[in-house]
Amino acid sequence: MTKPRRSTYIVLTIFVLGSLFPFYWSFLVASRDSGMLTERVPPFLPGGNFFANAARVFDTVPFWKALANSLLVSGTVTLTTVLFSSLAGFAFAKLRFRGRNGLFVFIVITLAVPTQLGIIPLFMAMSEFGWAGGLQAVIVPNLVTAFGVFWMRQYTVDAVPYELIEAARVDGCSMIRIFWNVCLPAVRPAAAILAMFTFMTSWNDFLWPLVVLDAGNPTVQLALEKLQSGYYVDYSLVLAGTTLATIPILIVFLLLGRQIVAGIMQGAVKG
């Protein structure tokens, strides 16, 4: 813990400006017409065309539908992942049952299996179920994750005292009520972090939705890619799309920044 020198602030400032720059650049292009890209010295301030370009985005791709789809997918996946992971974490941390340790080790091992590589049979399976093209094909494979179970188990071990569970049982609580009324309130911080991670991951997923969804029923990421994949790339249009897609998540990020940072750092110590 040294006291920072001025140079520390300078380096950090440069780093943060570098972090911000691509966002700013995409807004800059999005708020002008594509002509600006041919200028030798690009302008430094945004122009007034952002809303016109954004309107063209809505004409080119079903952006609102994509937004609704992404919200539905990420929202559902986040909800179920948190719920199922907390339940499983509760069971692994606090309940005794045959095979508990073996099953938990198995889950930890599955963390190393890159599920991305299974897209071919998964696609075949989804076609077989008649789910290809539908949102359920994106939702169901992500209902719960090994990371989620692992994470919630680690937290539950310390956060929920056995005495509390015993007291609840003495009072005649069923298991599920103990989970709901005793465990869940105690693990809320970890659940919130897991929710944030899951939402970000799901929101950014690209390969699997690209494989399984139809062009007419995209998520935000697919809509963005569609914008760009014309024969001629109109960057004002495309970057207006990226700005539209980034602004909401950026706002959430800035509002919850403190918790997100704390969550990531806590995850590092625990994991």
């Binding site: 972090s19 691509p22 494979p141 090994a146």
Partner: protein, 326 residues
Amino acid sequence: MTVVDKIAPEGNEAGARTPPRPTLRHRLSRWDVKVSPYLYIAPFFLVFGIVGLFPLLYTAYVSLFSWEAGDDAPDFIGLDNFKELFADTQFWNALENTVSIFLLSSVPQLIIAVLLAALLSARLRGATGWRVGVLLPYAASLVALGIIFANLFGPKYGLVNGLLQTLGLDPVDWQAGRFSSHAAIAIMVNWRWTGYNALIVLAAMQAIPKELHEAALIDGAGTARRFFSITLPLLKPTLVFVTITSTIGGLQIFTEPKLFDAMPGSNNGGSSNQFQTVTLYLYQTAFENYELGYASAIAWVLFVIIVLIALVNFFLTGRLAAVKKK
């Protein structure tokens, strides 16, 4: 631990009423204790069965066939797909690209992340603000990011080339060159993940007991000496963790090279596949050429490679940190 096994004494929510049928309640309660844990962990195993285990095994099965999409009676060809794959120059090229992009991204990223974490660990004014600022790129959508960087690195009107020319340097055709395209993609990856990894490293740094640094200070160790002799060795578990996660992610890289193409929507990874990665090749083989058997062989080889490299990483990181400790 045994607490949970105990069956609750009969009834009485508020201690007032006695339950009408204690035996049924008793049995229900015992059943609840026995069965509940399995019910609670069941969703994971169901989902993993469908999206993890089944695909892994079925991919192995499909890889033994000459299996085209829509083919009802694919031919069993044994290991021919693998034989073909090992002689496939495009596959080796894709593998080389993947490893090259992976090294160009993860090595500088880790080094910068550790240094950045060292800066962030000082007693900064507005510490949280700096941390959030460093983490900002993590909030970007990957696809948006790919598009933005493809634009920045554009050959004709890209800002990066504009800057180079302003400085009197020659512009680089970032997408056309092999190394330059790898470098550009790596910059994209680094831009997104360096701050995130820095925070993970920072957390580990702050867990190092202050006494160690104080003792070393008394012994006359300078900043650099303390960094290499105390901080770095104690960061080892975290560095292993960060390296392995970035390996698994890095070797599967797909979105960035797909969007970096000058021919948008293409899966070639450049005109001469100069930045086609293995996952991109896998995607092209399966969903553009519809050769599912061959693509499955690619998936399995990549899976094995990822596991191997993760293991090598694990040992190497351990070794490096052990050397530093002396």
